[in-house]
Symmetry: C2
Subunit: 233 residues, 2 copies
DNA sequence: GTCTATATAATGATAGAC
DNA sequence: GTCTATCATTATATAGAC
């Protein structure tokens, strides 16, 4: 009688083991990782990988879809979150560290998985802001989609940038690193989100005049300008 | 009689021409560009590059220092600017497009030139915020250095992220692309910087209580408590 | 200083034995 | 299904002719 050590080592087909090894190797070494390194991690030879997947590019495609599938499975049940919240949650799950780092790398390189991930985060942010707006916690924007896009790209991009300053990304401590980065940006983020940075409305109003939008309108510029927004003290 | 075509083609030593060709090639193709490609662009052979620079890594180092030198020469005379302003200014100068893209790539990959560039932008942002605070245009922060770091990394990281979504970066239109991205984020940026995102102070105050900082104080908490200062170069 | 020719290593992919 | 052996390509770097 045999005791199953870990599901990933025995229950899976060789194809799946190779694919998982590839995701790990791509996460650790980047997408320049060689098929020989992947083969070594999977405990097979390089030739077998070509036999199963045809080419490295094709293997990469299958890794993309698997990683997106895992991400959707995790996010499926949960409610909408801010970008930083999402990152923190993902970083907590050490089991999914390869998937998480794979996605980060893919976002950084403009890969297919990264683009899907980014667009999904933007959609989540739009929904999150709409909910918050309804409950009165989030201010209305003159262009909610542009604001959501801006918030996601700057949050995610900022974290990615600080991660790239780390000399080497180890899968074992990527969670701790992301948590540390998020910790460090929490105060300035909250400050800016609640109080802003500028003291008066001069620059915003000048811009609105410049693009032909009367200052003080918080509705989307394309539709009828309805509500006027009160200036904060 | 001979007409000098361009200064870079005749006035410079072969070493300098190779170095400039390398900067262009690294900007266009990324740092994976081969020495043969660089040699072709410089109009020499690959062997000559090794003869002059010893190794590709060493050539890279010299490109780094040259690019940082150019950046400092440009920024030397000007006054302090916000990150987005700096990016726009740099993107305007088509002559310096190779340097600009080289720096962006280096920032994205955590290269030496990128780290220096980033740290310099952070120092500029600290000075810019301090000036603005004195003139009453910028709100004080509880941790000015953390805020400056946050603003620079999120602005620059966000632009980098959106650039990486571009399928290919052409040196010829990188200026236009950056300008388009900056245009698209101007409204949400101004909105957030002047009005914030959240409607009440709940989250900020809760956080301040959590970290033991009494709410309502906008004085710096960094002088006594917080983190070590980054090395400036 | 500059080039040609070559050494050496690593890559993705193929062919065929078992 | 899996492996061994090999090919073809490309990379950096070296040696030596001119």
């Amino acid at each position: 009688m045999r005791i199953a050590p870990r599901a990933r080592d025995t229950d899976l087909t060789t194809r799946a083991r190779i694919r998982n090894a590839a995701i790990e190797e791509f996460a650790i070494r980047g997408f320049g990782a060689s098929v020989r390194e992947i083969a070594a991690r999977a405990g097979v030879t390089a030739g077998l990988i070509t036999h199963h997947f045809g080419s490295k590019d094709n293997l990469r495609v299958e890794c993309d879809t698997e990683v997106i599938r895992q991400y959707r499975a995790i996010k499926g049940g949960g409610s909408a979150m801010s970008p930083a919240q999402s990152m923190s949650v993902l970083a907590e799950l050490d089991e999914y560290a390869p998937m998480f780092v794979y996605i980060l790398r893919s976002v950084r390189d403009g890969g297919a998985a990264g683009i899907q991930f980014l667009e999904q985060m933007i959609q989540e942010a739009i929904a999150y802001a709409a909910e918050g707006e309804k409950s009165g916690l989030v201010r209305p924007s003159r262009d909610p989609e542009a604001r959501a896009r801006y918030l996601v790209t700057s949050s995610l991009g900022g974290i990615l940038l600080q991660l790239s300053l780390q000399p080497q990304l180890d899968l074992a401590d990527v969670g701790a690193t992301v948590r540390r980065i998020v910790d460090e940006i929490t105060l300035p983020t909250l400050e800016i989100y609640t109080e802003g940075v500028l003291t008066d409305r001069r620059y915003l109003d000048e811009y609105l005049l410049y693009v032909g939008d009367p200052p003080g309108t918080a509705a989307t510029s394309s539709t009828t300008t309805s509500q006027t927004m009160e200036t904060t003290s």
